[in-house]
């Protein structure tokens, strides 16, 4: 009798998962470490996506891994997910250095990787068949900002300041390339190691070259530091162009003394007219008590796409990849389709936006189709 009961329980245990039809999806993110404040947005976006997937009858078994912002940690996380957890696909990681590190692993283990927001241009330029990217690339960051600046004024010269990480270097390179196309001369190019308390001397030497535009690529806290010290030094070009990341955060916008009239490229805003974007923003605000950043939106949409696709593919990684490749979506990030073009593989051709901080709030100011406020150009100078 006892043996019968035991075997019955065992059978039940073995059978149940098949009935529940859960999809196992991996999620690598910077939950702690220096990029954690941005990572938090991705986690929140994924949380909302899981709720919405549940409403659609898709139960996701999420395997979360923290990469602490270090490439080697995200690689270990990916290997664990691919070999031990046997996930159908992976969403993440946040930063470019981590995403770039695990892109090749996804090819090796044949597990599709959907990168929500890491923008280093080269990631999708390596002909990797298992890697997909939802967000636009650093090249798009530079193009949209310079297009905006040249449509509003006639800048002739530009200085570039960037963090010496994958994202920063790639951003600076793209800005360099596109500026040449637009006939803008680069008068100074400074890459810095993040975390130094003093950028004054660098900013002073940039000021002496008197550039029309200052293009900056930085993460959270350095963006505030750079702008504070720019104000101290009195660096006052026609426009400060921030390439997303730190400049798109709420923490930056709140520092009104230094953030007003700064431009930032972004993948998404809460007031854009893509289907469900405004609802998502409202829901996010009531749920987490903060403004959603573009990181949250990209993570949400990536998880929605991965969840639906993996469930459709019955958790088979190979089929998931094929469905990602052939599929088409239209959600809070606008239309999504993974294309091969201009040397990119599986890259979504995403429309970037430009925001400007006005009165401590990010307002969409470019392209004209999506405008919520009139841009202030040129930079009116620092208030004493």
């Amino acid at each position: 009798m006892r043996r019968f009961l035991v075997s019955l329980t065992l059978i039940c245990l073995l059978v149940t998962p098949a009935f529940a039809a859960k999809v196992k999806i991996g999620f690598v993110n910077s939950m702690t470490g220096p990029e954690a404040p941005i990572g938090e947005n991705l986690t929140n976006g994924v949380t909302l996506a899981l709720e919405d997937l549940k409403k659609k009858g898709i139960d996701v078994d999420l395997i979360k891994e923290d990469d602490t912002g270090k490439p080697e940690k995200s690689m270990a996380a990916f290997e664990k997910m691919a070999t031990r957890d046997k996930v159908a696909g992976v969403v993440g990681p946040y930063s470019s250095k981590c995403a770039n590190a695990i892109a090749k692993l996804s090819e090796k283990y044949k597990i599709p990787l959907l990168i929500p927001v890491a923008s280093k241009d080269e990631i999708t330029k390596q002909n990797l068949k298992w890697v997909f990217r939802l967000s636009a690339t650093t090249y798009d960051y530079a193009t949209i900002l310079l297009d905006m600046a040249t449509s509003l004024g006639k800048p002739k010269t530009m200085a570039i300041i960037n963090e010496n990480t994958d994202f920063g270097t790639s951003g600076a390179k793209s800005a360099n390339l596109y500026a040449a196309k637009k006939g803008i001369t680069i008068v100074a190019e400074e890459s810095y190691a993040p975390g130094s308390p003093d950028y004054r001397s660098t900013l002073a030497s940039i000021k002496s070259k008197n550039p029309d535009l200052v293009f900056m690529v930085s993460y959270v806290a350095d963006s505030i530091l750079l702008m504070r010290q720019s104000r101290e030094i009195g660096l006052s070009p026609q426009a400060f162009l921030g390439a997303g990341a730190g400049f798109a955060t709420q923490a930056f916008a709140k520092e009104q003394d230094i953030s007003n009239n700064i431009f930032s490229s972004t993948q998404w805003t809460g007031d854009v007219n893509w289907p469900g974007a405004k609802d998502f923003a409202a829901r996010y605000r009531t749920r987490f008590g903060k403004e959603p950043t573009y990181h949250a939106a990209t993570a949400y949409e990536s998880m929605m796409i991965m969840g639906q696709t993996a469930s459709q593919a019955k958790s088979d990684p190979k089929r998931t990849r094929d469905l990602l490749k052939s599929g088409k979506w239209n959600g809070i990030m606008g239309e999504v389709k993974f294309l091969d073009y201009l040397g990119y593989t599986n890259q979504n051709r995403h429309q970037m936006l430009v925001e400007q901080i006005q009165g401590g709030v990010h307002e969409t100011i470019y392209p004209p189709k999506y405008v919520s406020k009139k841009p202030v150009y040129p930079f009116p100078g620092w208030t004493k």
Binding site: T32, G33, P34, A36, P37, E40, N164, E190, S191, Y192, A193, G195, S196, P197, D198, Y199, R200, S201, T202, A204, S205, S208, V220, A221, I224, L225, M227, R228, Q229, R231, E232, I233, G234, A251, E255, D257, I258, K384
Partner: protein
């Protein structure tokens, strides 16, 4: 030329704060021959104390050092009594492991309590400056430099003129001889560690209005403090003061003339050169 003076002056101003970090480390090393690898974490604790005093009680960060200094002195003294004191005669690598461990516990405890979010302390003068002969001087940096100068002067007076200060110096010179002369060496060690952590915390408080605060901020400063101390000569207060300013200026001018990506290289090449020609550091006495 303007840029040269600009970078020179920002270098000196920031170097003052570096000096404070270095002096703390060098006093601890001098008295106990222990390299405190938790020094950056003590600085981080000082930053958090300043941040919360500002956020909760609205105390200006520069005024709040009146509270932070005694608080962190006490904390350092307790650390010494409970932990450091037990390993004074242990192998150097064990001493290093202990202090690194203490540092890890501190930074992770803070992360657990306050998350790894960046805290930004904004005051009305956080980004204000005064322009003099075309050179802009950061107001918060000038205030912090002035405070650093006062504290360093007070410290020199304490070490040179008071009985306790002389006893600390005697202990640093020769622990055994000091003990034979009737100096309470154990008490001197406690005071030295308390002083060291109070100085680190003060440095943390002074840079809070212009920098950002997060649990892992310490490690970068531990390395900096170590370089400053070795550069100036291990255990030499004068050396650490000068070393701090030197590193500040090297970073700042290096950033201008070699590009900001190279400033660390400039600092470490300078460091290597000093070690090459003066292995004991600028003011160090070689202990052979």
């Amino acid at each position: 030329m303007e840029i040269f003076f600009q970078s020179l002056i920002s270098g000196i101003l920031i170097g003052g704060v570096y000096a404070l970090i270095g002096i703390g480390l060098t006093i601890i090393f001098g008295v106990m021959r222990v390299i405190n690898f938790a020094h950056g974490e003590l600085l981080m604790l000082g930053m958090y104390a300043t941040y919360f005093l500002h956020a909760v009680f609205h105390i200006d960060p520069f005024v709040s050092i009146v509270i932070t200094i005694p608080l962190m002195f006490l904390y350092g003294a307790i650390l010494q009594k409970i932990f450091i004191n037990r390993i004074l005669d242990a192998l150097p690598q064990n001493q290093i492991l202990l202090t690194i461990g203490l540092g890890l516990i501190m930074s992770n405890a803070v992360m657990l309590a306050f998350t790894s979010d960046y805290k930004i302390l904004t005051t009305t003068y956080s980004s204000s400056s005064v322009t003099l002969f075309g050179i802009s001087l950061s107001t918060p940096l000038m205030i912090s430099f002035a405070i650093t100068a006062v504290i360093t002067a007070a410290l020199y007076w304490f070490l040179l003129k008071t009985d306790t200060g002389q006893a600390i110096r005697a202990t640093a010179q020769d622990r055994e001889a000091a003990r034979l002369m009737g100096i309470n060496v154990k008490r001197m060690s406690i005071i030295a560690f308390g002083l060291g952590s109070a100085l680190a915390a003060t440095a943390g408080a002074l840079i809070s209005p212009t920098y950002y605060i997060f649990p892992q901020v310490g490690s970068a400063f531990t390395l900096k403090a170590f370089v400053i101390t070795v550069l100036g000569g291990m255990g030499s207060v004068v050396g650490a003061t000068l070393g701090g300013v030197l590193i500040g200026v090297a970073e700042s001018t290096g950033g201008v003339y070699f590009g900001s990506g190279w400033k660390e290289v400039v600092v470490f090449v300078l460091f290597l050169l000093v070690l090459l020609f003066k292995p004991a550091g600028l003011f160090g006495k070689s202990r052979t």
